[in-house]
Amino acid sequence: MTGLPEVFLRRVGGYGIFFAACVRSTFQHGVRWDRVLEESQKLGVRAFPVLATMAVFVGTNLAIQGHAAFSALGAESLVGMFVALGGVREVCPLLAATMVAAKAGTEMTAQLAVMRTKEQIDALEVMAVDPRAELVTPSLLAIMLVLPALTIISIALALVAATGVAVFQLGLQRGDFVDYMMSNITVFDLAAATLKSVFFGAIIATVSGYFGFYSERGPRGVGQATNQAVVVMCIVCISVNFALTSILYG
């Protein structure tokens, strides 16, 4: 375990430099909006079915847990509020981020690592094309654009699924439940969820870009880079979520 802090610091420094280089190359070489659009479409289409499934199950779990917790306290009516606040403020932004990290993020890491292995990133450099502007920036912007939209969609699906479980499985009054739920969602909450997901998007794209860009060559290198990227994304997103929640609601 010796040298772990050193490796950690070197990684953080390397990431910082990479992030700065991405931003700089975006301004220097301009944004390729056609690529951003293409990436956004791919991301949206591919992420949607998985995210929709997950959002539904998150909604059902929220209802069940809310019910279990609050009926023990004799406050069944609070289940709707719990679903609304938990789902909109915390769980759905994180869920959408996790999903995009797991699917689009790791895919980006793997793809960049493969390109590194096959010297395609070197080839771009030798052809005088900035590989960050070419490969990372379009995905970065695409994820930052699409993730908020996915978050809002997953919120809607989770709320519907939670209502379904509350009414049909748990036998709550539909009118009461929906009233309690909807009256606890404010524009501020939705804006905050959107803001969170923009942050998560930036983290996911740059972290997965960083690990892919500087991966070791070969199959083992590709696997390792992808593996490390997922874990780091999870940890950073959840920590940033805590920071944002404290600032926005604390």
């Binding site: 030798v126 052809m127 005088a128």
Partner: protein, 253 residues
């Protein structure tokens, strides 16, 4: 000799404790084919990466076509690299693009040519490397030799002043390997520009080279025309050549 195309002065490069190049001085002539020859692990790939600025030397100076590469800004490097084409070991073609799009890629990014002109340029280069009409194929469907040819077509499409070859013979069967050597020779005559080849393949090296530089343990052990290198008395050169060319091994009694 005219102003050299590449000049390394006292170049040192190490990765951690492993010294790859130590005090390397070499000048490669303009308009000729120079081969950097040596067994694997002697810093040949590092030599190429230093040359195009993908790596920075620890010490020493590197000049390419009169431009200082070490310490250059990204803008300077990109300007220089537009005059350089490179054939990568396994082609380094972009998997997501067709052969035609791969070759057109530098033109689309760096020139104002319209689509027709680009298509014509791509067709011409494919014909030059002996693979006419394969624009629509994907890189994954090509054999190793074909990938190298397409990569060469991409390397010359910008009409560079220098073309770099990273192990053009590696991973090929002897027949394909000879074909690539013949292609390099022919391209040299047609284009009349500077070629720099790194290789561990002696047969290929002597087939294409105007000049041969032999690297061993990070240092230059022989440098000159093919004949001069063949006459070198350096023990390592004798051993390396003897193993591969059935020359009398002067070291053994």
């Amino acid at each position: 000799m005219a102003e050299p195309i590449v000049r390394f002065t006292g170049v040192r490069k190490a990765f951690g404790d492993k010294v790859v190049l130590e005090g390397l001085d070499i000048e490669l002539p303009r308009g000729q084919t120079s081969v950097i020859l040596g067994p694997s692990g002697t810093g040949k790939s590092v030599f190429l990466k230093l040359l195009v600025g993908l790596l920075e030397p620890d010490e020493g100076q590197i000049e390419v076509d009169g431009v200082r590469v070490d310490g250059a800004t990204e803008r300077e490097l990109f300007a220089l690299r537009k005059k350089i084409g490179m054939l990568f070991q396994d082609g380094a073609l972009f998997d997501s693009m067709s052969v035609g799009d791969n070759i057109a890629f530098p033109l689309r990014r760096h020139s104002d040519l319209d689509d027709d002109a680009i298509d014509a340029a791509v067709a011409l280069r494919l014909e030059q490397v002996g693979l006419p009409g394969i624009e629509d194929q994907m890189p994954a469907s090509l054999s190793g030799g074909m990938r190298k040819r397409v990569s060469l077509a991409r390397a010359i499409v910008m009409e560079p002043d220098i073309v770099l070859f990273d192990e053009p013979n590696s991973g090929l069967d002897p027949v394909t390997s000879d074909e690539i050597d013949a292609l390099i020779g022919r391209m040299k005559e047609e284009l009349g520009i500077s070629f720099i080849v790194i290789s561990h393949d002696i047969v290929g090296a002597f087939a294409v080279a105007d000049r041969i530089a032999m690297l061993y343990n990070g240092a230059l052990v022989a440098y000159g025309t093919s004949d001069e290198v063949l006459r070198s008395q350096h023990p390592f050169v004798r051993r390396f050549l003897a193993r591969n060319m059935d020359l009398p091994d002067l070291e053994s009694p």
